[in-house]
């Protein structure tokens, strides 16, 4: 697959809301089957977490998934080896923290991801000001570097983020870490509206998307959602790829 993440998502957006489920690589044996199950269940892209020891922006669920993955010997190289053999028909997007990205250099990291067929990269602790070199390296490798926008981001800055993000704009539903929450915050609706005014790029909500009903509610204010902790909690509780796929399918139905 050679289409860029953004081109792919734009095409998909023309026919419906976007759904991007997440899995922490190595959090369970056979995690690549989870990626396949997501794709089969109607995911528009799949986000793959490269586990880091100190995930500053993650809540307890993804912390635990990361700890398990690291304890099981998961490494960047190992993940890339497994991903290389994985073609599920939708783009794969890496999500990780700056320390793993800058181990050798941002350029080498991007090159390695691209070589393994990944189409996008999300690095939550590398904001706009620190993203310059990494963004250049990503462009060179045909990798879309996705930037985050938060409810606290002022409008002028949102414009800059929307302009410089590639693939999609990752809109945080709330101030806080990843993790399931019951309500849909008012600030999310406002952020979605503002971003939609500022850019034609896909805008996806992430953080706290915990039920199909909530996914549908959030998607009304943007182009779709990223679902992480709700899936990872089920995975940590022992759910099989098939069951996780069914959950993604239920999200899919709620969005359509």
């Amino acid at each position: 697959m050679t289409t860029s993440l953004e081109t792919f998502l734009l095409a998909r957006r023309a026919t419906g809301r976007l759904l991007v489920p997440y899995v922490t690589a190595g959090a369970a044996p056979g995690w690549t089957d989870v990626v396949r199950a997501y794709a089969d269940a109607g995911a528009d892209a799949v986000e793959i977490g490269f586990p880091f020891s100190d995930p500053m922006l993650d809540g307890v669920t993804i912390q635990e998934a990361s700890d398990r993955a690291i304890a099981a010997g998961t490494t960047v190289t190992g993940i890339l080896d497994e991903v290389t053999a994985l073609d599920v028909g939708v783009p794969l997007v890496a999500m990780t923290y700056g320390n793993l990205v800058f181990q050798r250099s941002g350029a080498k990291f991007c090159a390695a991801l691209a070589m393994s067929g990944l189409r996008g990269l999300i690095v939550p602790d590398v904001p706009l000001e620190e993203a310059g070199e990494l963004a250049d390296a990503a462009v060179k490798e045909g990798l879309d570097l996705v930037l985050l926008a938060a409810p606290s981001t002022p409008r002028a800055r949102l414009g800059e983020i929307a302009a410089r993000s590639r693939g999609f704009v990752y809109a945080l539903t709330r101030m806080g870490t990843t993790g399931e929450r019951d309500e849909v915050p008012e600030q999310a609706a406002r952020l979605g509206r503002e971003l939609k005014e500022l850019t034609d790029r896909p805008v996806l909500f992430g953080f706290g998307v915990s039920s199909p009903r909530q996914a549908a509610e959030l998607a009304r204010h943007a182009d779709g959602v990223v679902v992480a902790s709700a899936l990872m909690r089920r995975l940590l509780d022992g759910a099989r790829p098939r069951e996780l796929g069914e959950y993604v399918a239920s999200m899919r139905r709620a969005l359509d």
Binding site: L100, P127, I161, T177
Partner: protein, 389 residues
């Protein structure tokens, strides 16, 4: 090239290090703190309030004590900058009073803090009580066990101590948890970071609040030493706040600057460049980039990174960084207690252990003068070293 230990500008860079590696949700908060600090630091009214509190409340200036008997034994002139004599018993109070005043100026009602040995937590709880703010302190479960006395002190002072049960359950995890909590509460809470770490402006701001150590010490050395400037200036380094404040007073002199790390937590010696807790610096990590745990007898030094400015000082050769073993540290603590009647914190005894070793080996030439920052008092450590004596 800017002058060493000056204003790192809006990017917060010290050479290749520093920066602001935080999630977008924290960027406005960091920018707001930077603007507020720049404004306050240029405001004589703010500086006056800070100086007054440091004087009438925290007990500054702290004395520079000639360690006469130990100097004689070591064959050097050893001067001790007595941060252990401040209110709450460590240099941490200098930074915390400054940041608490800033938080108040910014209209924040609650201080968030991480703590390792508990000294920064106690200082934060103290400043919060003084200024009528609430305090929430994140502390690793393992450190809570090691530093029970400081947990009780924080409780008495009215602070909420939140045990951190993730990861290695020490300082690094307490930092993660404090930052996670901060992301969710930037509207009413101020993150009162305890060392020269974290996203810009913290490494710079904390160094400026600790600069008082170095400036006082430099003036006191001028009065005490015939040469006015000591040959060596030595301080322990975990994150590196007392060392940064000390070095700031001497970086423009001929004094040789030495930071002393715990052998099991020596980021300046064995770390590689990395990004942790919002800044780029030297970080202890495995070959895959996973941050490793620091281990030492002193909970306050169990941090797997060092402040970005220290990494820069090291690269440029302006400061050098050495390590000492737990055993040397405990021996130094006892030796200082028995020669000078001062029970210093295990953290501070790292600096002393290096001086004892270097004077013994001739690395510090006989007759040299050494200014050592004794960052804190050792009461908190007595129980934990009982079995090592």
């Amino acid at each position: 090239m800017t002058t060493l230990m000056s204003d790192p500008g809006t990017t917060g860079r010290f050479g290749d290090y520093g920066g602001r590696y935080v999630p977008e949700s924290l960027i406005p908060a960091c920018q707001e703190i930077e603007a507020a600090f720049r404004d306050a630091w240029a405001d004589p009214g703010f500086r006056d309030r800070l100086t007054t509190l440091l004087t009438v409340y925290a007990g500054r200036p702290t004395p520079l004590t000639p360690a006469r008997r130990l100097s004689e034994e070591l064959g050097v002139t050893l001067l001790l900058k007595r941060e252990d004599l401040t209110h709450t018993g460590s240099h941490k109070i200098n930074n915390v009073v400054g940041q608490a005043l800033l938080a108040q100026r910014m209209g924040r009602r609650r201080l968030l803090a991480e703590t390792g040995a508990g000294q920064h937590g106690v200082a934060t709880a103290t400043a919060a009580a003084l200024l009528g703010l609430r305090a929430t302190v994140f502390m690793g479960e393992r450190d809570i066990e090691r530093q029970e006395l400081n947990v009780l002190r924080m409780n008495v002072l009215g602070a909420e101590v939140v045990p951190v049960t993730t990861g290695s359950r020490t300082l690094k995890d307490a930092c993660n948890e404090a930052m996670r909590h901060w992301v969710a509460s930037t509207d009413d809470s101020y993150y009162c970071l305890g060392s020269v770490l974290g996203p810009h402006p913290y490494p710079w701001m904390v160094r400026e609040f600790q600069r008082v150590i170095g400036e006082e010490a430099r003036a006191q050395c001028a009065a005490e030493l015939p040469a006015a400037v000591p040959d060596y200036v030595v301080a322990c380094v975990g994150g590196g706040s007392n060392a940064a404040g000390t070095f700031a007073g001497f970086v423009g002199t001929t004094a040789r600057l030495v930071g002393v790390e715990a052998e099991g937590g020596a980021a300046a010696t064995s770390g590689r460049a990395g990004v942790l807790h919002g800044f780029r610096s030297l970080v202890l990590q495995d070959e895959h980039g996973q941050v490793t745990e620091a281990h030492s007898v002193a909970a306050g030094l169990d941090y797997p990174g060092i402040g970005p400015e220290h990494a820069h000082l090291r690269d440029g050769g302006r400061a050098r960084y050495a390590t000492v073993t737990d055993e040397e540290v405990v021996r130094a603590l006892v030796r200082l207690a028995r020669t000078e009647g001062i029970v210093a914190a295990l953290e501070s005894c790292h600096a002393l252990a290096w001086v004892i070793r270097a004077a013994g080996s001739g690395r510090i030439a006989p007759g040299s003068s050494v200014m050592l920052t004794l960052s804190g008092r050792g009461d908190k450590d007595i129980a934990s070293i009982k079995e090592l004596l």
